[in-house]
């Protein structure tokens, strides 16, 4: 039973869920993800593991409510049960001792860098986290990131908190100032990951990104998540999701993410039509 034990409404339609999934929690490693399904005939969606607790048998997920499935998930409450949670999937993040890590999380990508930064911290690596949001009130996980980072740098689009600009603005000045770093990790929207890759390339800093293409089974069976990395066709679900940012074909990834955009729109419009009021939404049958 994949029961939601806790649900918190954070900012910018981002929700945090603590879900009972002992089999997943027991094996979870930083950088891995799960695939979940809300109800029968629902779609399978991949979500990166933000945290887990082996003793309690729980996992923590951050989900932004943007499509039909994620909106419906945002209407579920503590005590509700998901039809399926499968994982952990994907190859765990590559973590080497004796490195200084700079991790960039854009928006709810912060949830995805969280376990990786912690894993670096746990083996004694120096960790610098750069986290960003549109505005101060929408900043996610600042306290959680402070707890596992030697240094946290902040960027907001409107300058209401920390540096005005993007997380890449902060990284750029760090690179220009020749601040020591061995590995850069960036997780967030594709444009952000691409910008990071472009920045670090000329400085020759090893850079890792965790890719988020469309997936279905998550076990290498369908090939929907295929990405090109250094001229090699890779399946993000079993060969990744973490790849060398300097080798990734981001244009292809961006195009392929739009594969079902027309259908996603149809689905959401139909949903909004059927569940026009909040009340209808709350009584929707899973």
């Amino acid at each position: 039973m994949f029961r939601i034990l806790e649900k918190n409404d954070l900012a910018a339609k981002v929700y945090r869920y603590i879900i009972e999934a002992p089999d997943v929690a027991r094996k979870a490693k930083a950088g891995q993800f799960v695939i979940l399904r809300l109800y029968d005939d629902g779609e399978r969606i991949p979500i990166t593991l933000a945290d887990w607790n082996v003793a309690k048998g729980t996992i923590t997920l951050y989900v932004q409510a943007i499509g039909k499935t994620t909106i419906m998930m945002s209407m579920m409450k503590a005590g509700d049960v998901l039809a399926d949670v499968v994982g952990p999937l994907g190859i765990p993040s590559h973590i080497e001792k004796g490195k200084t890590l700079v991790a960039l999380g854009g928006g709810f990508g912060i949830a995805a860098i969280h376990p990786i930064v912690r894993a670096h911290k746990l083996i004694g690596n120096k960790t610098i986290s750069i986290i960003g949001a549109r505005t101060k009130g929408l900043m996610l996980m600042e306290n959680e990131m402070r707890a596992i980072s030697d240094d946290v740098r902040i960027a907001t689009d409107d300058g209401s908190y920390g540096t005005k600009g993007f997380v890449t603005t902060v990284l750029k000045s760090m690179l220009e100032n020749r601040e020591p770093m061995d590995v850069v990790l960036a997780i967030g929207p594709v444009v952000m990951m691409k910008a990071v890759a472009d920045l670090t390339r000329s400085y020759g800093v090893q850079t890792l990104v965790s890719l988020n293409p469309i997936m279905m089974d998550g076990t290498g069976m369908c090939g929907a998540c295929r990405v090109v990395v250094g001229d090699k066709l890779q399946f993000a679900c079993v060969d990744g999701p973490e790849f060398d940012a300097h080798q990734v074909d981001f244009e292809l990834l961006m195009a392929r993410q739009k594969m079902y955009s027309p259908q996603e729109k149809i689905s959401l419009e139909l949903f909004n039509k059927i569940c026009a009021t909040q009340e209808q939404r709350e009584t929707a049958v899973w």
């Binding site: 997943v24 779609e43 399926d84 994982g87 089974d217 290498g220 069976m221 027309p262 689905s267």
Partner: protein
């Protein structure tokens, strides 16, 4: 409940007379009608048709047909019961060796197996073994309780089955019947493997797979879905920590091959696995109403390949309400097509256009979206390694097909998840698990069978492998004490 038709007096007829009875055709939905729905194409025999067809069997003492069956169904024995109207008894006999008769009656290539060896087949059409098998299984499902065989007292042995496809389901059923505690671990959210994600509803209704899975559960088999062995738990952990005495790997051939052609990553180019899984397992044909998983909404669909998967993909695409034209592009000619003749015939009837001796050379697109396929005509040259004549391109024969979706159905490799996470498991250079005749692998207590061992093949061959392994596993765990 016994609703068998009782025949009181039945005159014995001679073999000569039996052979005069024509093979009963299978009633089918008309091509025009079925090309627009997902209901099953063949409708099944009525009891009268089945009894009449069963009369054609000579009940050979030394039955050749049984040798052609990978699970050795006692064919003359069950057909004899059908002829007599004892359908419940026929079902019992079938189930002795075949855990999934309603599935096999539909998807087995009988024309290459039992029916190809039928004695009367030399002179007239062979007995319709497959149709009779289907009839008996359907009759049993529709007419009350499925008979549950008596199960010996628990042996206390725990066996893990990895993958709930045809090989795993068969192996699990046979081991449960020996009194062992059997758990199937399935990566997807529903058991059935290729029977639910690959083979479409109109060829194998999912309700039938569900019924066969329920039968296994009644035998005491536990099924754990959403469990990816290799990730959620490794085989080592299952054997060393979770107390399993043996394991059977039946994970199939689930890694899609692509063609390495320009434009293959354009939006609109799908592996057959992705396309079929979206429509079958995820019920994409009901999108956006009762199912949430989107499917390609293309007017023109090109399917590349000539096997059963290609036929399934093409006929599935045709049934989607927005699709107007479906092509099969296959590089060899009609006779080399690996698909079952029946499937090719059904596809032709439904209006799929077959472009044979044709091969795609590149996929064309605009702004990241597919809008056409460039193809090239081929001719047959000298025989290649497979013994089939090798297709050779005809220079200058390129032409373009308009298409918003392409489905690549040129085969599958083996999934690497278990190989990578199971030290000491020998695999071939293609990633297939090395196993002996009984399915025994290089790892103590671990067996494997089906497509993961022999490469992409048929449902019944996988079932045969599951059956053979079950026997060996039973002997192993009982010997181990």
């Amino acid at each position: 409940m016994n609703t068998d038709i009782q025949i009181s007096v039945k005159p014995k007829i001679s073999n000569k007379e039996r052979m005069k009875i024509p093979r009963h055709p299978m009633p089918e939905q008309s091509p025009l009608e079925r090309a627009h729905n997902f209901f099953e194409v063949p409708l099944g025999y009525t009891p009268e048709m089945a009894m009449e067809e069963a009369e054609r069997c000579l009940l050979c003492k030394k039955a050749k047909c049984v040798e052609g069956c990978p699970v050795n169904v006692q064919i003359p024995q069950f057909i004899e019961q059908v002829a007599a109207g004892n359908f419940a008894r026929a079902a019992q006999l079938l189930k002795q060796t075949n855990a999934l008769p309603a599935v096999c009656g539909r998807v087995c290539p009988q024309e290459d197996q039992c029916e190809s060896l039928c004695v009367i087949g030399a002179k007239v059409d062979p007995v319709a073994v497959g149709r009779l098998e289907r009839f008996v299984a359907d009759w049993e499902r529709a007419n009350g309780e499925m008979a549950i065989p008596e199960i010996p007292p628990p042996t206390g042995k725990k066996i893990a089955i990895i993958g709930a496809g045809p090989a795993g389901l068969t192996c699990a059923g046979d081991l449960a019947k020996c009194g062992h505690s059997v758990t199937i671990f399935e990566a997807l959210h529903k058991p059935g493997g290729v029977l639910v994600y690959g083979i479409p509803e109109f060829r194998l209704p999912k309700q039938i797979v569900e019924a066969e899975v329920q039968y296994l559960e009644k035998l005491g088999v536990q099924i754990k879905c959403d469990f990816v062995v290799g990730m959620t738990r490794t085989i080592d952990e299952m054997m060393n920590e979770d107390g399993f005495d043996a394991a059977f790997i039946g994970t199939g051939a689930g890694l899609p091959y692509f063609m390495k052609l320009p434009g293959e990553n354009l939006n609109g180019v799908y592996s057959a696995n992705e396309f079929l899984t979206r429509v079958n397992l995820m019920k994409g044909f009901e999108f956006p109403n009762s199912a949430d998983t989107p499917v390609p909404m293309a007017k023109h669909v090109v399917v590349v390949g000539g096997g059963n998967t290609a036929m399934d993909a093409a006929r599935t695409a045709l049934r989607l309400p927005w699709t107007e034209k479906v092509y099969i592009v296959y590089r060899r000619s009609h006779v080399e097509m690996p698909a079952r003749k029946e499937e090719i015939h059904h596809g032709e009837q439904e209006g799929i256009e077959f472009l044979l001796l044709t091969n795609p050379t590149r996929f064309l697109g605009k702004d990241g979206w597919l809008n056409g396929v460039e193809c090239q005509r081929m001719e047959l040259g000298e025989p290649d390694a497979s013994g089939r004549r090798k297709p050779v391109p005809i220079p200058g024969s390129e032409f373009t097909l308009e298409a918003e979706a392409v489905v690549i159905a040129v085969g599958n490799g083996s999934n690497p998840l278990i190989n990578k996470t199971t030290p000491g498991l020998s695999v071939t250079k293609y990633g297939n698990i090395v196993a002996d005749e009984s399915g025994k692998t290089s790892r103590e207590g671990v067996w494997a069978g089906g497509d993961i061992v022999i490469g992409a093949a048929t449902v019944i061959k996988a079932m045969g492998a599951g059956k053979t392994a079950a026997k060996a596993i039973d002997e192993y765990v009982m010997r181990k004490g």
